[in-house]
Amino acid sequence: MSEEPVVSVNELVDGVLSGKRRYLARLISLIENEDNQAQEALVQLYRHTGRAYIIGVTGPPGSGKSSLVTKLTAEFRKRAKTIGIICVDPSSPFTGGALLGDRIRMQEHSLDDDVYVRSMGTRGHLGGLSRATSDAIRAIDASGKDIIFVETVGTGQSEVEVIEIAHTVIVIDVPGSGDDIQAIKAGIMEIADIFVVNKSDYPGADKKVTEINTMLDIDPRERPWRPPVLLTNSRTGDGVAELADKLLEHFKYLKDSGMLEQKGLERSREELQNLMKYKLTQELSNKLQGKPAYEKAIRMIAERKKDPYTVAEQLIAEFLFSESR
């Protein structure tokens, strides 16, 4: 950034830790751009993270995710909690561009110093989030926010990645969105810690609640926490205080049952594996990309003179051998 004052990693870290939103915003930009500074900052910030309560909010487009997050934010602000919000919207698979419009619903908090809102495009990542989302959460966590909402893209049936980053997942549904078969399909209906039937003033809201409850009745998993099904109206705010109570109850349940610790371990394992996979892939492709032998192998695979299975194993074996020397 040519004329922008150059910020050192230490300044960035100090700025984020003292809750300065410009530094937080800058760090998230660096994270999104996969800048080396971002990782240096995250290395220092890591031990200051793990304090925030992270709530994932997912559901189909137009079900009221942004509006509900706004109302929940208002409710938690009344309870003196500070809030971070990440809203993810899809990037175009053709141009890479995105229209990020979730902020429109969040105007009532736009000047509250204790609320930070950030919009992100998926930038080609599938699963309902962007690649940078988990690090962005970490940055907001380090800046001292008590609760972080992560609003996924409007989801269909199988974008379930949010369970990997949130403590509690809210799945929103609306009246009239298909019959009871939809409720027993695999995927998104399985990941909720709390179900919300939003737009409770629409006809069919009670029927929707019954359908979800029926689905839960026949769930074979032994689960000490049965996801409650709540009715809300994110326009009027009806049911939002009850939802806030339920959220805190679930977080307490996670803590008391030891689930929080267990999830933390699972997550760290997952993250470490993913990072190693990512770094290895990068190292490997740095090493091979553009090399004549590599290009030749690709050609031979295309011409059916070699098969990709054997070539992949050979290349990896060579790579590991050369690294271990």
Partner: protein, 133 residues
């Protein structure tokens, strides 16, 4: 994945002005040019515009106004940006803005004003060439 810097643009409608068809058309064009466009909706105060721009880490702000209050609102936004030390953000405007007012607005730091009928490609190119990434 290679480091992918994307141009992020805030499209904002300051003041009491309920007409945002133009802003939406421009937002769509910027999106199709591969930018990430944050649209905040209608009736924003200058403070709200600046706060959103800083939180979102945008490189450019596009202000749309058809109410006639540009001479009050645009300079106020520029003043607030300056106070935040965010002089590096490219600010452009559009809407119904008389020729006679343009020079004065540019003096406050607005980089360019795009009147009715401006080809969308011209706006896209302008932002692409003038934005500081």
């Amino acid at each position: 994945m290679s480091s992918s810097k994307k141009i992020r643009v805030l499209v904002a409608k300051p003041g009491l002005d309920g007409h945002d068809r133009g802003a939406k058309v421009v937002a769509r064009a910027l999106r199709d040019a591969g930018m990430e466009v944050i649209y905040t909706g209608l009736r924003q105060t200058p403070e709200m515009v600046v706060r959103a721009a800083l939180d979102e880490g945008v490189h450019c702000i596009g202000l749309s106004i058809l109410s006639g209050a540009h001479n009050a609102l645009f300079p106020k936004i520029m003043e607030l940006l300056k106070a935040e030390g965010a002089n590096d953000i490219l600010v452009v405007g559009g809407g119904i803005i008389p020729e006679d007012d343009i020079a004065g607005l540019k003096k406050t730091g607005i980089a360019e004003i795009f009147g009715p009928g401006t080809p969308l490609q011209e706006i896209v190119e302008y932002i692409k060439t003038h934005v500081k990434l």
